[in-house]
Subunit: 349 residues, 2 copies
């Protein structure tokens, strides 16, 4: 049940997947009881007389290009893997660095495992990307990457490794890669329509160049990192998964482990052709299987068959890959937490 | 100039210190041009037909108990001390820990200096608190603690030390220390009135016990920390400064450096009496001066004379203290950034 105080409003809508009208009470508060929401993390917003805004009584989460509201429908005990437990805890660190490629200061977050601070050994690194309209904060604010890793490591299900979470947005000075338009320049959204916000511009090629030129060298200079492609993984969710395939498949000399969570090149590139798709990355099947220690494809069962089909096409072409389907979840953070839970234990083995 | 898209609204107010009416344009957007704002960081919110909400086109900042909007009126070159420069950068780390005193998981942020990650030496620690309605994120999100420290350390103006930023809110199970009430349970705020939000409860005594029992031992076990009271400082802004005095003056065996930024016991405790104020902490002047390496009192020049009077009363009583007045600033983050800039260089000398 949602309750919004807007005493002088004529109409208040709740937008959570679909659009709900609310009813005004004598106390000036508007209320609505939604249909039961499926388990997982759901963004939502309010439309107060046509103004699309966040709930002021809950925390905001950066998604769809703005600080909108989010509500978690928690899993039962099976969700303990993403909640804090009485185990050793690592930390998520905010790290600022200057990018020569974009000419701007950038921020990334770095998860270091529990034994990092007091230890002396070096670790492999997973570069982990957010999705459309989100930012470098998503994986710890919405994804609970730190609790998931802490719990997997404590249970000895995953190796201790570093996770680097950067921001997809990257353009060179003067380069125009705008993919978002300002809500203020749009007509009012239709009922249930998500508002759009302008983000910093994005081009996949510039992100890849920035990552190889600025991010990876900074990380390997700053932290105790094991060198070489076999100690370097990249994964991402949704648009971040698409970017992961673009970056890694064009630079297999740099990455040996690849993950796409509800996002990959599969299906986007039209009919899959093992000889030509993704720039012919799969053409030499034996070489690909030798170089790529793992190609992981994760998806929510409610997201449609495209990723499963892509996995089957890869398998049919002789490309080794791991397919994971999250039962009963859609294109949201519970799917991606579960993907990380399945993906992390297989890394760097 | 502010521009808010609320096509069907009857009234849209902008609340930034004072209340501004906005005017609707043909495109359904409401606009207003405010009087010039003084330099610094200002929280603001929108009232759309009586609903007090954050701007959905800018980032939110946790203050007054909710994720409201903030706008920075930047300083000129003199503000470079709180902006990222081409110097070595430390990091701000999110650290979760379980509190035996409150029976809950807590989150703090830990700034480690640039040479920490690659180094082996141990460091003194400053425990630094936020203000009323803010949280453990305030000092890096609004205060830029990391850039201020990076720049001071690079200029050799401050020693390298660790900064721990925790959350003031702390109650034991069953303890009721509520100091905020839910906006949804209030009548609509009057024009210009700040909305109130409920935060986790707070009692100063429980925070002190939690800090000494849970926080400090966790920090000293996790990080390379120099032991002993002379390597331990505590400071805070506003309500956090008041808490700093409560905690440190009752435990001078634990802290040797004390800072209050727009917040201290001075003036709150009525007439200052060196023999009885703050539990008689100042009674033995010589012992106090010997134990307390620095008592720092900072304030914005627009905040009134109370802190200056307190400093003068301390001086008259023979209590050594440092008074800093930030020119032309009020009870906001620019005052507190400047306080840290003045306070940090004097620490651990």
């Amino acid at each position: 049940m949602f309750r919004i105080v807007a005493p002088d409003a004529r109409k208040v809508d709740l937008r959570i997947g679909k659009n709900y009208d609310t009813v005004k009470g004598d106390d000036g508060a508007w209320t609505v009881t939604t249909a039961p929401l499926v388990v997982g993390f759901h963004y939502y917003s309010l439309a107060v007389d046509g103004a699309v805004l966040a709930d002021s009584n809950t925390r905001t989460f950066f998604g769809s290009g703005w600080d909108n509201s989010g509500i978690e429908i928690p899993e039962g005990p099976e969700g303990d893997y993403y909640r804090p437990q009485d185990v050793p805890h690592g930390q998520v660190s905010q790290r600022w660095y200057f990018s020569k490629v974009t000419g701007q200061w950038r921020r990334c977050y770095v998860y270091t495992p529990p034994d990092y601070e007091s230890g002396k050994t070096s670790y492999p690194v997973l570069y982990l990307l957010h999705g459309w309209g989100e930012n470098e904060q998503g994986w710890h604010a919405q994804g609970h990457v730190d609790f998931i890793m802490d719990n997997l490591i404590a249970a000895k299900k995953a190796r201790s490794f570093i996770v680097v979470m950067d921001n997809l947005n990257a353009v060179k000075p003067g380069e125009d890669g705008t993919i978002f338009i300002s809500r203020a320049l749009q007509p009012p959204p239709k009922p249930g329509e998500q508002p759009m916000r302008r983000l910093a511009s994005f081009t996949g090629a510039t992100f890849t160049e920035m990552m190889l030129t600025d991010l990876i060298p900074m990380i390997e200079k700053t932290y105790r990192v094991l060198p070489g492609r076999e100690n370097r993984a990249m994964a991402g969710l949704s648009m971040g998964g698409f970017q992961t395939f673009r970056t890694t498949l064009a630079h297999l000399d740099q990455f040996a482990w690849i993950g796409g969570f509800s996002g990959s090149t599969g299906g986007f590139a039209g009919d899959f052709d093992p000889k030509t798709s993704d720039g012919g990355a799969y053409a030499d099947t034996a070489a690909f299987n030798r170089k790529v220690k793992m190609l992981f494809l994760g998806i929510g069962s409610a997201e449609g068959p495209r990723t499963k089909k892509f996995s089957e096409q890869l398998t049919a072409a002789g490309i080794h890959n791991v397919y994971f389907e999250s039962p009963g979840t859609a294109h949201e953070w519970l799917t991606w937490r579960r993907c990380l839970k399945e993906f992390a234990p297989l890394l760097f083995r």
